[in-house]
């Protein structure tokens, strides 16, 4: 223990700095003021850097002074305490003290005026317990750095443990003009401050503890010296010359240690810790008295205030209340600033509250703080460089910021700028340099955040893709395994049947390979064809005559090529089964079906060509050549269809011959018949369409087409009859089995209905889309009417309605029947009812959505109002009926529940 005067540390210097008028005397005329309780306290949840706190209280809760009302939300966050006793009246968005003038979530506390403290639990044994516990305690007391950014103190102290500390610096410089809050704090609470520093020194164990204070605070310096001498303290006092911004953390460190904090690093990295005097006092109060951080010293100053002074103010006090307290003259007030004139920001409203970092309210008159002069061109005087305390090149940064070259700005260490405003202050062209830097910094930060988000999205996208690929691969593997199993069976069967199986076994894979290759070729050819057709369509739309003929040639070539390939494909498999000549009876159906296939392909091809020609015909109805072509194609089509019908009847007869075979064959036959019937039906449809088109254009071949239609229908009828016969035969063969599967078939029927429903819906969607497309293409209303889509749409909608009715109808019947059948099992019908209610709800939602959609369409296409209105009416009816049903169901459900 020394008995001499407190040590004074050596003082270095830093680059740049300015000497603005201090204006500190005004607020030191009056003693520390204590404003009365405001009518409400507004406590923002984000008073500090990092995550906002999480509220612990609800609206209506009664809280005591010092009670925790919000806890930390993550590592970089802090606690919040009730500044006085009262009631929580709201947790809502309120204007906060922020340069943006935006709102944020705040807890609003209405004081009861009693100032009843909660039970305080001071940490008297702080010297004995572990430092981690002390840090945790400080966190719970809501202590954050009170100098500027409000960095949670415990986080800063934890960071200081990384390296052994050489210097622990207490920042009492307070270099910004007008502000005297720290000065007043040192004068008023000298003892508490020194005790607080001693607690901190215990926690961080630095080699040197230095208080850095500017020489414009003689009273505070004297008070400190007295206390330090009294306590025989090790703490050194360093009086630094007045220069802005010596109170900046990095500048003060340079002043007191001569060491510069490297770019992008923290003071802790060079073994230095810096704390504000306010924080030290708060730590002292928290540990020795158990008082959480609920108030601070704030300077009220400016020409617009009659009695400028320092006040000890509770957090959450609205600025307006403080202005009132300091007798402000609203006439004089031109700008209200939170913070000092150099680094503070303008407040748009006096309703914002004081928070943990509000060190000054400057109510400036127009004369005191005139509006900034208009910006002029940079004259490259270099004064900004002379003034910059961070040794940056403000001019260069300005160019890069102006031209948005943020990368270069970063290279010039833009992020080392402490936004002190010295460069703007000295600029003879009144360029708001700091504002440019702030803009650049926030743009860069935004871009970084967007990058992080993009990386995340990319990761998730790739993970999803990998998952989908894996699923697809799994499916493919399963499919291959199944295929392999079936082919194995087939080859086993073949091996078992003929003695000379060896050559066929070798031939089969060969032909397989060949057919595979052919199939691939066909697929490629088809895709090419599609492309060509698309091009052709485009050409037709744009009316490029030469291109059309050229493309048409290509299309026909391509079609021929595909046809040839398909023929080849049709031949190749037929070669394979031809080899085992031993069982010709079984083999014969295969070539027949192959031929049939070929013929069908022909039909399809001709049909495609016909369609295309008809399309062209619609566009150019007077083209005689086209009509001739269509006629020729139709003749071809007929011939091909004849062949198909002949072949299929052949196939039938051949299969009829083998009808005595077991059931498996039977179902195969059935399948084939069904396919034939479907094809015939499709043919009927096609011919009908052709007829319609022919009628539309009043073509002479309409009669011929009608004839064709009749024939096709006949054929379809025949096939259906044929289909019906074996169908009736099948259940006879296995009547015993059919009975137990009745339930299954019911389920299947339901499934089928659902599928039909889905198909009908898809049809509606498609029709709507096509109509929309036609409209987009700018077709006339009449043309749209002429095209089959509106009709199709209505048809599909009718079908959908019918299907939905069907869907709905059988269900209730079952439901009513069931409760009678099993009256004891009540739970089951109830559950059914629930699912039904759900279904009806879905139906209601769908109908609503459709009405919405229709209304939207009504707005966009008023010319179609009539038809859309009708549709809307229909849908509304459906909606009503669905809702009625729903109501009934719900009613019955409640009834059932009541009965229970």
């Amino acid at each position: 223990m020394r008995t001499e005067k407190p040590q004074t540390a050596k003082v270095f210097s830093f680059h740049g700095g300015i000497h603005p008028p201090e204006n500190k005397a005004q607020s030191l005329q009056l003693p520390l003021g204590k404003p009365s309780l405001p009518s409400e306290l507004i406590l923002p949840l984000g008073q500090h850097i990092g995550q906002s706190s999480r509220p612990l209280v609800k609206v209506g809760d009664k809280v005591l002074k010092g009670e925790t009302i919000a806890i930390n939300n993550g590592f970089l966050s802090s606690f919040l305490h009730a500044p006085t006793s009262g009631t929580i009246t709201a947790i809502e968005e309120r204007l906060i003290a922020h340069p943006s003038g935006l709102s944020d979530l705040c807890i609003v506390l209405t004081p009861d005026g009693n100032e009843t403290w909660t039970d305080l639990e001071p940490l008297n044994n702080w010297q004995d317990i572990s430092k981690t516990d002390v840090l945790a305690y400080l966190s719970e007391m809501g202590i954050v750095g009170m100098g500027g950014a409000g960095f949670p103190t415990q986080v800063k102290l934890q960071g200081a443990h990384k390296n052994p500390l050489t210097h622990f610096i207490i920042n009492a410089a307070e270099c910004e003009p007008y502000i005297t809050a720290d000065d007043m704090l040192i004068r008023e609470k000298t003892l508490e401050l020194v005790a607080g520093i001693e607690i901190l020194q215990h926690l961080v164990e630095a080699e040197n503890v230095i208080i850095g204070i500017e020489d414009n605070k003689p009273t505070a310096i004297a008070a400190l010296k007295t206390v330090l001498t009294q306590r025989n303290s090790d703490i050194q006092l360093a009086v630094v010359p007045t220069k802005y911004p010596s109170g900046g953390e990095k500048q003060l460190i340079q002043l007191l240690t001569g060491k510069e904090v490297p770019s992008g690093q923290y003071p802790a990295d060079i073994g230095v810790l810096c704390q504000n005097v306010g924080t030290c006092v708060a730590i002292h109060d928290a540990i020795t008295q158990g008082k959480p951080l609920i108030s601070r010293f704030t300077t009220l100053t400016g020409d617009a205030l009659k009695s400028p002074q320092n006040v000890e103010v509770l957090f959450g006090t609205p600025v307006a209340h403080l202005l009132e307290y300091a007798d402000y003259e609203s006439k004089k007030l031109s700008r209200l600033i939170m913070g000092g004139p150099m680094m503070g920001y303008t407040l748009d409203s006096a309703a914002v509250p004081i928070v943990k970092t509000s060190n000054c309210i400057l109510a400036a008159s127009k004369k005191e703080l005139p509006a900034p002069a208009p910006e002029q061109a940079c004259i490259r005087c270099g004064m900004c460089e002379q003034a910059c305390p961070a040794s940056l090149l403000p001019q260069q940064l300005l160019w890069f910021s102006k031209s948005q070259e943020f990368e270069k700005a970063e290279h010039h260490n833009l992020f080392d700028c402490i936004e002190c405003g010295a460069c703007s202050y000295v600029c003879p062209s009144s360029i708001p340099l700091v504002q440019y830097y702030r803009h650049s910094k926030s743009s860069i930060r935004e871009a970084r955040e967007a990058n992080v988000k993009a990386d995340l999205a990319k990761q998730r996208f790739e993970a999803r893709k990998a998952r989908q690929d894996a699923e697809a691969a799994e499916k493919e593997a399963k499919r291959l395994a199944r295929q392999k199993a079936t082919t194995n069976k087939a080859t086993d069967a073949k091996k078992a049947a003929p003695a000379k199986a060896t050559p066929t076994a070798a031939a089969a894979p060969a032909t397989n390979d060949e057919s595979k290759k052919l199939k691939v070729d066909i697929a490629i050819g088809k895709s090419k064809l599609k492309k060509l057709q698309k091009q052709l369509l485009e050409a037709q739309e744009n009316e490029h005559v030469e291109e059309i003929s050229n493309l048409q040639l290509q299309v026909t070539d391509q079609e021929k090529a595909i046809a040839a390939l398909e023929e080849q494909l049709a031949k190749t498999p037929s070669a394979a089964p031809a080899a085992p000549a031993a069982n010709t009876e079984k083999a014969t159906p295969a070539p027949v079906s192959d031929e049939l296939k070929k013929a069908k392909v022909d039909v399809a091809l001709i049909g495609v060509k016909l369609k295309k020609l008809q399309k062209q015909l619609v566009e150019t109805p007077d083209d005689q050549e086209l009509k001739d072509k269509i006629a020729a194609f139709e003749a071809d089509l007929k011939a091909a269809q004849d062949i198909v019908s002949k072949l299929s009847s052949n196939a039938q007869s051949s299969t009829n011959a083998t009808a005595a075979e077991p059931k498996a064959v039977m179902s195969d036959e059935l399948k084939k018949l069904k396919i034939d019937a479907a094809i015939a039906k499709a043919a009927v449809k096609k011919v009908e369409k052709a007829l319609k088109k022919a009628e539309e254009i009043k073509a002479p071949e309409a009669d011929a087409i009608r004839q064709q239609l009749k024939e096709a229908q006949q054929r379809a009828d025949e096939l259906e009859k044929a289909l019906a016969n074996p169908e009736t035969a099948a259940p006879k063969a296995a009547p015993e089995k059919a009975a137990p599967t009745a339930e299954n078939t019911d389920a299947e029927a339901a499934k089928k209905r659902k599928i039909d429903l889905a198909i009908a819906k898809a049809g509606i969607k498609k029709a709507e889309k096509n109509i929309q497309l036609l409209k987009d293409q700018g077709k006339e209303e009449s043309e749209i009417e002429a095209s089959e889509w509106p009709k199709k749409l209505i048809e599909a909608q009718q079908k959908l309605a019918a299907l939905e009715a069907e869907e709905g109808a059988p269900a209730p019947v079952e439901k009513t029947a069931e409760p009678v059948a099993n009256s004891e099992a009540k739970a089951e019908p109830e559950m059914d009812l629930a699912t039904q209610i759900k279904k009806e709800k879905v139906a209601v939602a769908l109908a609503k959505a459709q009405i919405n959609k229709l209304n939207k369409r009504l707005e966009s296409t008023p010319e179609e109002a009539e038809s859309i209105k009708q549709e809307i009416a229909a849908t509304e009816q459906r909606l009503q009926s669905a809702e009625a049903l729903l109501e009934k169901l719900i009613h019955s459900q409640t009834n059932m529940q009541e009965n229970r």
Partner: protein, 198 residues
């Protein structure tokens, strides 16, 4: 003559040595894949929205590497076009309106009481940002949503809204100053005084 031969010999020897070094370097430092695609991909916003006509951002990056225009990405907007132009050393062109317009950042929000649990939006989401199961209410993880709009179309009951992400105090950024005003010609003090006198 000897000097000439010697010179030629030395040059041949040198060329052989350097050729060997280059050949070795070509094998040793061979780069797999196309690094330019990765660089382009890194600049794209990764919304995976498909507005450019490609199924995702990487396919578009590949297309750009193969010569497609750089202005087909509405979510990236002008800043992405600028970045791509800088990277590829081509001219920055305005956004192609055919692919959509640049809009404020948005996030999908499901009106949860209207959701029928059809899982269609879940299948449509390119970044798996929608949670839910069949016949269960779905919800969007707002932090993961890229605002790509792909879930809006498949919803059968139209219960997905695209909501603009507002600016909060945490995401707010400083405006750029006005710059030198076009009319600030009253540079000389007497000019200003004259203006006051008017």
């Amino acid at each position: 003559m000897l000097t000439v031969l010697l010179a030629i010999g030395i040059l041949v020897l040198l060329s052989l040595i350097f050729g060997a070094i280059l050949g070795y370097a070509n094998v040793r430092f061979h780069v797999e894949g196309d690094p330019i695609v990765d660089q382009i991909d890194a600049l794209l916003p990764q919304t995976q929205c498909g507005q450019c006509g490609h199924p995702g951002c990487r396919p578009y990056a590949e297309a750009i590497a193969n010569g497609e225009a750089i202005n087909h990405c509405p979510p990236g907007g002008q800043s992405t076009i600028q970045a791509l132009a800088d990277l590829l050393d081509v001219e920055a062109v305005p956004l192609d309106g055919d692919h959509g317009t640049e809009s404020a950042k948005r996030v999908a929000v499901i009106r949860e009481d209207e959701c029928i649990g059809c899982t269609k939006c879940i299948q449509a989401c390119p970044v798996d940002a929608i949670l839910g199961a069949a016949k269960q209410m779905h919800t969007v993880i707002a932090d993961e949503c890229t605002g790509c709009d792909l879930c809006v179309e498949p919803c059968p009951v139209d219960c997905i809204d695209m909501v603009e992400i507002g600016v909060t105090a945490k995401t707010w950024s400083w405006d750029k100053p006005q710059g030198i005003a076009a009319t600030s010609l009253d540079i000389i003090a007497t000019d200003r005084q004259a203006e006051v006198a008017h």
